[in-house]
């Protein structure tokens, strides 16, 4: 009896302590959960801006690729800005008049969907409300670039110092490469004209496109490489070639037909020398002719 009594008493004591502790923890975590975002929102917004927006936008520093965002909340409805940041491709696809106007104004370059969660969008808006200004990426002035090296880097003829993937894997520039480049990313023939020198440099230096971010996250391009690429893009833009290199198609078909011809020639030589199956041979030796009709 004594033992049993003790067990029940100790159980009761323990459960009281557990309930008390969980109460304290619950209250604390609730406070933590509600308190933290409000407190840091503006700083966080600045961080996000400098990380994800700065390659195309400035605040009070003029146009880079996209518009200067100084006083953006005075010009546009706050909810519209919020929804545009969350899903710009969606807004454009819905035919929103403001978005369509902006697209036309900025050389037809749509803002990519950065996939920001709502909390980060809210932080950004809070940061915009603060009215602080952010200058565009002001790196050292780029050294002068060489067109030939830029083309080499683009096609993969020359390797990037940090081992980044050559552009041609996903992009095409008219007239470059035997069969053109990849079609995952947009055609870059006139990218120089669309982005402008500053915008293009900025967006390569600080990549905002979600697909490219992953590829180049650990393999940033050096300033010299960016300068070479810019020189190459400028030259490609002014030359304005379209499509794949001339003669590539006929070379492709010619080589294919020749190869097939050689293959069939070799087959014609070896085909009759295949091993006759043994039971057919035994029947033939015994003078039994196959009765198969086929």
């Amino acid at each position: 009896m004594e033992v049993k009594h003790n067990i029940w008493r100790s159980l009761a004591e323990r459960s009281f302590v557990i309930i008390l502790l969980s109460g304290v923890l619950l209250t604390g975590s609730f406070y933590q959960a509600t308190a933290s975002p409000k407190h840091q929102s503006s700083d966080e917004g600045q961080g996000i801006f400098e990380q994800k927006c700065i390659s195309c936008h400035s605040i009070g520093g003029g146009i880079v690729v996209g518009p200067d965002l100084e006083g953006v909340l005075d010009r546009r409805d706050r909810d519209w800005v919020a929804s545009f940041i969350s899903a710009p491709d969606q807004i454009l696809a819905d035919g929103d008049p403001i978005a369509t106007g902006l697209l036309a104004e900025f050389n037809g370059i749509p803002m990519p969907n950065l996939g920001l969660p709502d909390a980060e969008v809210e932080s950004l808006l809070t940061f915009f409300e603060g009215g602080e200004s952010v200058a565009p990426v002001t790196s050292d002035p780029l050294p002068s670039g060489k067109i030939s090296r830029g083309e080499g880097l683009f096609t993969g003829g020359e390797a990037f110092d940090n081992g980044g993937t050559p552009c041609i894997a996903c992009h095409t520039v008219g007239g470059v490469g035997l069969f053109g480049g990849g079609s995952l990313g947009p055609d870059l023939t006139h990218v120089f004209q669309r982005y402008g020198e500053v915008g293009l440099a900025s967006s390569i230096q600080n990549i905002a496109f979600p697909t490219m971010q992953g590829v180049y996250a650990e393999k940033a391009l050096s300033n010299q490489e960016i300068a070479d690429l810019l020189a190459f893009f400028a030259a490609a833009d002014s030359e304005g070639k379209e499509g794949v290199a001339t003669g590539a198609t006929s070379l492709f078909w010619g080589a294919g037909l020749l190869g097939a011809g050689v293959l069939f020639g070799v087959m014609a030589f070896f085909w009759p020398k295949q091993r006759e199956n043994l039971s057919d041979r035994l029947r033939r030796d015994a003078g039994i002719t196959s009765r198969r009709h086929s």
Partner: protein
């Protein structure tokens, strides 16, 4: 000494009546599926004959097994480099016509045929295309010498026989045949395993069963070409290779494989053999005439304390060792040295063994002299003294079972004959005379051995024929899965459908 265990089967060919029950049992359990119609994991051949697939022993065409070269054993099929060149076109690969086009009969026609002047027939149709075919060959087309002019005379084992002997074998008075049931030999030095580029074939540690992992098989079919016994088959429907699995799910539950279990003549025995895995490479790489001796050498005595200690050190439990001590396979292969491997010259070190058949004496033993008045027992003595009078030439049997070594074949045949003579004297005459005892002594057997051989040959119980060790499968899998997980479930087929190109 690296002691391992192996489940081995013994085929007593004198008892085989060629009824194909084993083949049908196997077919019904394992290969009654789409893509497996032409496969006979177990087949019974009539010898002399060309077998299934046609002339499978002709390694100049099929290039199976191993070849002795200066640098040791090499696959006869190809070197690694040649294998790479022949990856997509392998001329040594048997095609479907080398086996036979599987067929069935249009039985519906017997019931549905409109009224005609003649009886309706069940027309043969191909099981692959479904179209009517003219059957030209089958898995045992020359059964009971049915096609001997076409097939049996082309038996590769007749090649080294003198021309006059071959002609004599075609004479009506000398016509003779025996049956040769074949399953996968579950070799110690399997060429199929060595040839597989995907590493999909493996030999199970516990009982030596050679299995194809259907998940890893990539349909290169090198195994089909490399197996000198042509016992790996390609399933054209699943795109995977398949072979005899020695009914391991049955063995794990203490049952004999379906072929052995269903055998009407009770010709099959099964039991554990202990072997020394370290000595396999050396035993496979000896001159042809020493192959049988080297093969017997690596089979270990399960009563030897040293072997038992080494076996235990290798994790072999007492149940397996005890099973090996009672194994009929050990008695036939090692103790009495009666059972022989099929075609040891392929050097794959087969683990299924055959006791060669005795044949009747020829009716003409001297020119123009018919000796049909001889008593049965006189036949035996006649044979014992002059084995060359047997209708099946010793050389022919030697080509099958001893790589052409006639000496070993004579020893085995004389042992079998002396036991027959001894037991006939004992049971028919009631007296064992000196002549009978002398034949025993000449054959190198004692009376006790003769009686033991007789009992194991003629009177064995099921438990004596099939000695299965306790597999304890439930214990070996319980770490990874619940042994009762599939209790109550039943059925055949793939657990996962194999996907191509993955």
């Amino acid at each position: 000494m690296n002691v391992r265990t192996h489940m081995s089967m013994i085929f007593h060919l004198d008892k085989c009546i060629g009824c194909h029950t084993c083949s049908v049992a196997c077919k019904n359990i394992w290969t009654d599926r789409k893509g497996a119609e032409y496969m006979w994991w177990n087949n019974v051949e009539t010898r002399p004959g060309t077998g299934y697939p046609t002339q499978w022993e002709n390694q100049e065409e099929f290039r199976g097994g191993w070849e002795r070269k200066k640098n040791g054993l090499n696959l006869k099929l190809h070197t690694r480099f040649q294998g790479l060149l022949k990856l997509f076109y392998n001329p040594s690969l048997p095609d479907l016509r080398d086996y036979y086009e599987p067929f069935t009969f249009d039985y519906q026609n017997l019931f549905n045929s409109p009224q005609k002047d003649v009886q309706p027939i069940a027309e043969p149709v191909s099981m692959i295309t479904g179209d009517p075919i003219d059957i030209e060959t089958g898995p045992n087309w020359d059964d009971d010498l049915g096609g001997s002019n076409v097939y049996a005379k082309n038996d590769p084992n007749l090649e080294s026989l003198p021309e006059e002997v071959r002609e004599q074998m075609n004479e009506l008075e000398r016509l003779v045949f025996n049956y040769l049931p074949r399953i996968c030999n579950h070799c110690l030095n399997p060429a199929c395993v060595a040839a597989c580029p995907s590493g999909a074939i493996y030999k199970r540690g516990e009982d030596g069963v050679v299995l194809v992992n259907e998940n890893s098989c990539r349909a290169w079919r090198m195994c089909v070409a490399a197996c000198p016994y042509k016992k790996v088959y390609y399933n054209w429907s699943t795109g995977k290779s398949e072979k005899c699995i020695l009914c391991f799910p049955r063995m794990e539950t203490g049952q004999a494989p379906a072929c052995a279990h269903s055998c009407v003549g009770r010709i099959r025995y099964m039991g554990v053999l202990l072997y020394d895995a370290d000595r396999i490479p050396d035993a496979a790489d000896v001159p042809d005439e020493e192959l049988i001796a080297a093969h017997r050498e690596i089979i270990l005595d399960p009563h030897d304390p040293e072997v038992i200690a080494a076996a235990k050190a290798n994790g072999i439990d007492d149940g397996w060792i005890e099973s090996a001590q009672n194994s009929p396979a050990y008695k036939f292969v090692k103790e009495w040295e009666l059972a022989l491997p099929l075609h040891p010259e392929f050097r794959t070190m087969v683990m299924m063994y055959y006791i060669p058949p005795l044949s009747p004496i020829v009716s003409i033993i001297e020119k123009n002299l018919f000796r049909l008045d001889l008593m049965n027992e006189d036949y035996d003595f006649e044979l014992f003294d002059r084995l060359d009078a047997a209708r099946l030439p010793v050389k022919y049997l030697a080509n099958l079972f001893t790589a052409g070594n006639e000496g070993i074949m004579r020893t085995v045949l004389r042992k079998l004959l002396s036991v027959r003579i001894y037991m006939r004297r004992k049971t028919v005459d009631g007296v064992v005379d000196d002549v009978a005892l002398k034949t025993l002594a000449d054959a190198g057997l004692t009376e006790e051995e003769a009686i033991a051989i007789y009992k194991m040959t003629a009177l064995p119980t099921m438990e004596e024929r099939f000695v299965f060790p306790p597999y304890h499968r439930e214990m070996s899998i319980e770490a990874g899965m619940d042994p009762l997980a599939h209790k109550g479930e039943a059925g055949l087929g793939y657990i996962q459908q194999p996907k191509r190109g993955s």
